[in-house]
Point group: D3
Chain length 136, copies 6
């Protein structure tokens, strides 16, 4: 079993906001991240898949093909977008990096070829904060 | 003369939009950056000052003091903000990184002690795009 | 289960020295790292915790709060310090990065809220050497 | 158990080419990577070993000694080389990063002292593609 | 005047070899870099242009357009290539990074719009060696 | 004229301390950096030289030779050392990064071959603070 990771970049706006709470509570809990006029980030996305390398190609998966799948299912939907407003699969969810990484896993999983297993999604929100998800 | 650079980090939302143009022209010229719902970035800000090192401290400037000035004049105003909406000194300007770096220079310059000269402001918008300004 | 990592920075002096050995043996075993006048490093500390994201916030833990705990329990004690001399919880231990990362785990663990599990501590001593500890 | 990682750098030429296929099929499958005149990379190699730290040194392994072993068994064989042509242990294998990382594991494993276990080999081929192997 | 830099990535094979010298002298002068079977690198290319920002866009140049020009004139010609064999504008030149950066300047200069000046080309050959050229 | 930069790494202990001041004033001015038990850093040193590339080699200077000179004149003297105590050419100087970069320039300059000019020395003390010196 070999693990292959592809790194992709995108940037987006978002805010942290729980609609069940009033503005004061949102600001108390989320601080500057609750700014109603939004803020944003450059995100670095690490997608790791695993498999026995194929005998013909020596590949777990063609890294170019993996990149195309990530771009089609994730980057196109989130790059230069507002995560709270523009991204269908974040609808009704609090837009934390934790919830976002789980949503990316779910968006990507059905598009991967059956020859590989999705191992993990790692997402840097800033150079000093990142989250990682390994599935249920 | 020795040059000292302090690096600070912030993140913000913005969009590229010229109010003299209609939505179609803005989208034609600015592409995904014109998304009316905003997008955002992690910014890395490099502030470089120069001077003869002081005889008593060996410093061009105390890097902690320089950091405090940058935080007071720039980071507090822009971090977790919407550059088009929340930042007074971007009012009426197209929110390009080029215009932003010039505005940061002008915000910072009057706050620096006279013992140092401001040499340059460098601003990374993404890991692959940055601008630099050396004054007029 | 989602994993959240917060990265913090500090710098410190130390030396590698076993008091049970004479100077010659210390120099033979530890080489330049045994310099009796000390040397030092910029350390990058990665603290990873895990939990189900909270329903109200979408957080494993507020990254700001995690940062405050790390600063209170670790950074305040070690930043701009001599690890052999100034840090109580390194007393009587050989000041290797391996022993240091275990001591950081033990210093941090009791301060974390019960809603998260401490998963790992990773510590870069130089850009080319790092250690990681996952608990007993 | 503490994990220690040493990072080493090398650069090399290679091409992706399956000798059982004709030139057209190689170009169809491997694209630009099949260029018969070769291309190349700067590789970053992460070697992770694990053990209980030694009582006398506080070390999993002396990082200098680990570096010497990696240089002797791997870097000397591959640095400034053509992986398809010059590296004995890539003979008869398709020169994918996946096959390469497994071959590095096998080249390194017998040279490590019995006091440590080899945990993983991670190899960056570009800043955006890396593979990792944990043994059989 | 504002300076804008765009960073692009490519990888390639090459060797250092002076055809006026015999094999022994080439190996004596160029060491491992003279390996007749080639070696290679991941290159990071920094292209810096300068201008007064445009009143309509706030841009020195659209960074996407600059990227397209760099890709058309440089990346397409050198990415996944052998610099000594496949790149017309390196013909008859010793394939040092110094000669290469000058050749990139000359390849790029005629393709830039007249509204900007080419300020510098910086090229990382490894993370620890880079060259920079500012024109004649 | 082409500029070539070589990056080297070292680590060292130091403290900021002016012997003309008492302990209180040192602590007031230098804060945590005045810790009498020392602290330390990983330093990244960028040495830039310039010349017309040589007709025979295509080199400004052989980067390996430049590295050897830097190691002989600088790294050997400062790596794993205490800058205040162990480094002859810091004697009697306040050990600021500013004074240190000037001292490195002076230590290196006489050892460079006459075919190149020393252009600049850049020194990172932390990932967020660096100084640069271009000579008198």
């Amino acid at each position: 079993m070999v693990f292959l990771t592809r790194v992709e970049h995108f940037n987006a706006a978002h805010k942290l906001y729980n609609p069940d709470w009033d503005k004061e509570k949102n600001e108390e809990i989320f601080g500057r991240c609750a700014n109603e006029n939004w803020h944003g980030h450059n995100y670095e996305l690490f997608v790791t898949v695993k498999a026995e390398p194929d005998g013909g190609t020596g590949f777990v998966i063609d890294a170019k093909k993996l990149s195309d799948i990530i771009k089609d299912r994730v980057i196109e939907k989130v790059d230069h977008k507002n995560l709270n407003v523009d991204v269908e699969w974040m609808n009704g969810k609090i837009c934390s990096t934790e919830n976002f990484v789980v949503a990316i896993w779910e968006a990507l999983l059905p598009a991967l070829p059956s020859a590989v297993q999705l191992h993990s999604i790692k997402l840097y929100e800033t150079p000093r904060i990142f989250v990682e998800y390994f599935g249920k």
